[in-house]
């Protein structure tokens, strides 16, 4: 973009949102250069912080007038580079749209603005015996608007489903600046389910400016078990046994040996045995009488697969300690190396044991430090690679190993993202899963909403018809100092 145009654009945007809410100085733009995936970066032309739907629509129309693309952004906690502005686009940051507009206790839904922080909604409706079920790991920071964009999951999606199962309606600013309502608080519309197509579209079909979400009743009883295993494969087998038995726990999470070591050496220490090969965390909720029996069945399943011991949380404090091992994992891994690559892939749950073994073998072959902490109940793996991006050789291995891991998961019947989205990170890997015709069908959907491709361009779709290059630069790793 020419500097003259940019100055005009910034002026026009300031007229809409006010000087204070349009950022354009390089030092102001720097925090928006990347999201939670720091390997990818792109500098926006400007960042605007609109306060309502009307301002978003006017910002969008202004961007169109200047021929500049735009990208919606929540808290920037995404892990696939989905919230970065490619091609000098404008970032539309939704943090000022942070109000809960309405809570309907009788019909169990809430209407929120996109900047509402995920965990704060559950906190707000707790006195009514309700909660908002999707609980991504970043829920203390991430916003519901961002969750809609990514169709975010979390540990409890095993029983409760992902964001798409809890969004009833949205108000959407289309890429031409028009405002539409999709879905209905009743959960049923008299037209096609376009809401379902918008949730998880990574901000490429428009900008969500208001969301109606379903609220769920807080279960009367919760039990949390921690099973300690000698190896991660046995823990995976226990998960398979539980799924086969027809039990649906609220959550089933596995933390492997390497992660345990990191957690126990950090401020998140949960008192786990450091010689354990893996721990399996299982949470059950529901009717007290039923949960009591399910606890026994889970314990039996774990012991049958060779668990050293199974602890049951005696109180809330102990439950919190169990969860610390899971939730503190990413923070703890920050101690291991300057950078952490959090991968995200899904495989059929019965394939978890063999896939995990092979993932570890891939990392070993590349000489990388890999640890696993994942949503085992959903088959949603998070292989984490600790590395130092300043070491160019190591980075090459990180990227090569990542590709091998994703290819392995797809070959096992899986997919390349369970909850982080494709963004820029995985767009070139989409062909591992889909044919050109499949991708073209997605383009048709995109075209109906955004025929000119101005809304969050450069995401989801592969940019090249050629094989993935080994060269990180060619794959869009702009921040890599090679």
């Amino acid at each position: 973009m020419r500097s003259l145009d940019r100055a005009g654009l910034v002026l026009a945007l300031r007229e809409i949102v006010g000087d204070a809410y349009c950022l354009a100085r390089p030092d102001q733009l720097l925090p928006y250069e990347c999201d939670g995936l720091t390997l990818h970066g792109a500098m926006p032309s400007a960042v605007v912080l609109p306060r309502d739907t009307d301002e978003i629509a006017r910002v969008v129309r202004t961007c169109r007038r200047f021929g500049v693309p735009f990208v919606p952004r929540g808290a920037g906690t995404g892990l696939s580079g989905g919230a970065i502005a490619m091609d000098g686009g404008v970032v539309i940051e939704c943090s000022r749209l942070d109000r809960v507009l309405h809570v309907d206790v009788a019909d169990r839904f809430a209407v929120v603005q996109p900047g509402v922080v995920n965990a704060s909604l559950s906190q707000l409706v707790k006195p009514h015996g309700l909660f908002y079920a999707p609980d991504p790991s970043s829920q203390l920071a991430c916003t519901i608007g961002g969750n809609v964009g990514e169709n975010s999951g979390g540990p409890h999606t095993l029983k409760y489903g992902t964001t798409t199962n809890h969004v009833l309606a949205v108000q959407l600013v289309l890429p031409d600046g028009d405002v539409v309502r999709l879905g209905s608080p009743t959960g049923m519309t008299n037209g096609p389910d376009l809401l379902g197509a918008v949730v998880g579209s990574e901000g490429t079909l428009g900008i969500v400016s208001e969301i109606s979400v379903r609220l769920s009743p807080i279960p009367e009883c919760v039990e949390t078990l921690l099973a300690v295993f000698g190896d991660v494969v046995s823990a995976c087998r226990a998960v398979g046994r539980i799924i086969r038995s027809g039990l649906v726990p609220a959550a089933m999470e596995i933390v492997d040996q390497r992660t345990i070591a990191a957690v126990e050496a950090s401020v998140y220490a949960a008192g786990l045995p450091r010689d354990a090969g893996a721990v399996l965390l299982v949470e059950l909720d529901g009717v007290a009488e039923a949960v009591a029996r399910q606890v026994a069945r889970i314990r039996d399943a774990a012991l049958l697969e060779g668990a050293w011991r199974v602890d049951i949380a005696r109180d809330a404090a102990e439950r919190e300690r169990f969860w610390r091992a899971r939730k503190g994992a990413f923070g703890a891994m920050g101690r291991l190396a300057p950078d952490l690559y959090v991968h995200d892939a899904v495989v059929p749950r019965a394939r978890l044991p063999e896939v995990l073994e092979r993932i570890c073998a891939i990392a070993d072959a590349h000489g990388l430090r890999l640890s696993n902490v994942f949503h085992a109940g959903d088959g949603n793996l998070h292989p984490n690679i600790s590395f130092d991006r300043r070491n160019a050789r190591e980075l090459e291995h990180v990227i090569a190993a990542g590709h091998e891991i994703l290819a392995l998961c797809v070959a096992a019947g899986g997919v390349i993202s369970g909850e982080h989205g494709i963004g820029v990170e995985k767009r070139e890997y989409m062909r591992l899963v889909y044919s050109d015709d499949d991708l073209e069908a997605m383009c048709r959907l995109r075209g109906a909403f955004d025929p000119d491709g101005v809304c969050n361009p450069g995401k989801i779709f592969p940019t090249t018809r050629f094989c993935i290059e080994a060269d990180p630069k060619a794959r869009g790793y702009d921040r890599v100092p090679l």
Binding site: G196, R349, S435
Partner: protein
């Protein structure tokens, strides 16, 4: 009768050969009388059939089991029936995962049998003895157990779809969690075949409950009847919660049907202790007792299995807390009602006076529209004789979705050959 020209007939036969059996069988669907049916033998033949139809601009009515032939707007420009009746195979039931895959023409009864044999439950129970998987998904059809099973949109993991230009595509997958690209499954579920023909699908299964119990109770005409019914639907193990009015009560459960007010039917399913607790609660709060065998099937049939359109059948979707208000608007419509209070769904049947009772139909529409507004929801005419659909959209009042649907139709079915005219706004 719409007769396909000899040239088109020969063109289809030459292009498709035996792969898509062409038969002369007069069929009446969606107001169109058609004399040619294409029945492709596999997914590839389905794709080739659609490509040829698109190239020749021949409109087709897509048909599974024919359960919902009386739904949708009157078809325009349809010249053949495209049947999925030979696409019948359960491709896989994965008992370790609790997922299954089948071709679209597979009757739900066959699929259910295979799923049962693997120790799981198929979470679909729409009405219609011949209902197919593809038809169920295309119509987003639900049955009484949707309260416990969830809706079709939330149960599809992956799909094979042939688009309107014959392009075969796949979306989603077999795993239970997936954000790899757009969720095109949701676009197809409930689109009535307007954006493509579903040829196969991966489904999430549900565990078989340890215990099931069906209870029935008479619920008076008191002002809080709806609120009490919603509370019953929110019991943790409630898989079905239905209210049936006095028009239907004696058909569903003769011994417990009240002379006035509602018959409440609740099916509890799950862990034995939890079911026992909910049953005790229903007994204490409503005086409910065990229902007779087959009661859920009878409730389902009220939703309209192979509905022969002698009258009108509407589906209202409203907020549960506003059911009362919506019902007040229906008071004058003389409708027979089946209500699922937990999800705010009302199935209303209205008998009409005589042949082409236009005034009766208009009066019914007005009442339904008022009820939908009072309940903050929508009204759809699910089944009706063709004359009652003239100059009216059975899908009710246009929404923002309709406008975008036009752009989607142009891209997913560029020649406009799939179920032409039958979907929202005459798409």
């Amino acid at each position: 009768m719409t007769v396909l020209s000899a040239d088109d007939f020969d063109g289809l036969r030459t292009a498709l050969g035996d792969a898509a059996a062409l038969t002369h069988t007069p069929v009446e669907i969606g107001g169109a009388k058609l004399d040619v049916t294409l029945t492709p033998g596999d997914e590839d033949a389905l794709a080739r059939s659609i490509a040829v139809l698109a190239a020749r601009g021949i409109g087709a009515i897509v048909r599974g089991g024919g359960t919902r032939s009386a739904s949708g707007n009157t078809a325009h420009r349809a010249r053949v029936v495209l049947s999925t009746q030979r696409l019948t195979r359960v491709l896989e039931v994965d008992a370790d995962e609790g997922v299954a895959r089948a071709l679209a023409g597979t009757p739900l009864s066959d699929l259910r049998e295979a799923v049962d044999a693997a120790g799981w439950a198929l979470p679909f129970d729409p009405p219609g003895a011949c209902t197919t998987l593809g038809g169920t998904l295309a119509a987003a059809a639900i049955g009484p157990r949707h309260l416990g099973f969830g809706r079709p949109r939330d149960l599809v993991l992956g799909m094979d779809v042939v688009l309107g230009d014959g392009v075969r595509t796949r979306c989603g997958g077999r795993v239970v969690k997936n954000v790899t690209g757009y969720d095109l499954m949701k676009l197809q579920v409930g689109a009535h075949g307007s954006f493509g023909v579903i040829s196969a699908a991966w489904l999430r299964l549900r565990p078989r409950p340890e215990c099931e119990r069906v209870l029935a109770a008479a619920l008076g005409e008191t002002g809080d009847a709806m609120a009490r019914a919603v509370a019953a639907a929110r019991l943790p193990t409630a898989r079905v919660c239905a209210l049936v009015d006095t028009n239907f009560g004696f058909v569903v459960e003769p011994d417990r049907a009240p002379r006035a007010g509602w018959l409440l039917i609740v099916e509890a399913a799950g862990d034995e202790a939890a079911v026992a607790r909910d049953a005790a609660r229903l007994s204490a709060d409503f005086g409910a007792g065990d229902a007779t065998r087959g009661v859920i099937d009878r409730v389902r049939s009220l939703q309209g299995a192979n509905f022969e359109p002698a009258g009108l059948r509407f589906r209202l979707s409203v907020l549960p807390s506003r059911l009362d208000r919506a019902l007040r608007e229906l008071a004058s419509a003389d409708a027979a009602l089946l209500i699922y209070p937990g999800s705010g769904l009302v199935f209303a049947r209205i008998a009409l006076g005589g042949i082409a009772d236009g005034i009766g139909a208009e009066r019914a529409w007005l009442a339904m529209r008022s009820a939908a507004r009072a309940g903050s929801g929508t009204a759809v005419l699910e089944a009706a004789p063709e004359w009652a659909k003239v100059a009216r959209d059975v899908h009710g009042e246009p929404t923002d979705e309709w406008r975008l649907a036009r752009a989607l139709k142009a891209r997913f079915d560029p020649a406009g050959i799939l179920n032409p005219g039958r979907f929202i706004g005459g798409l």
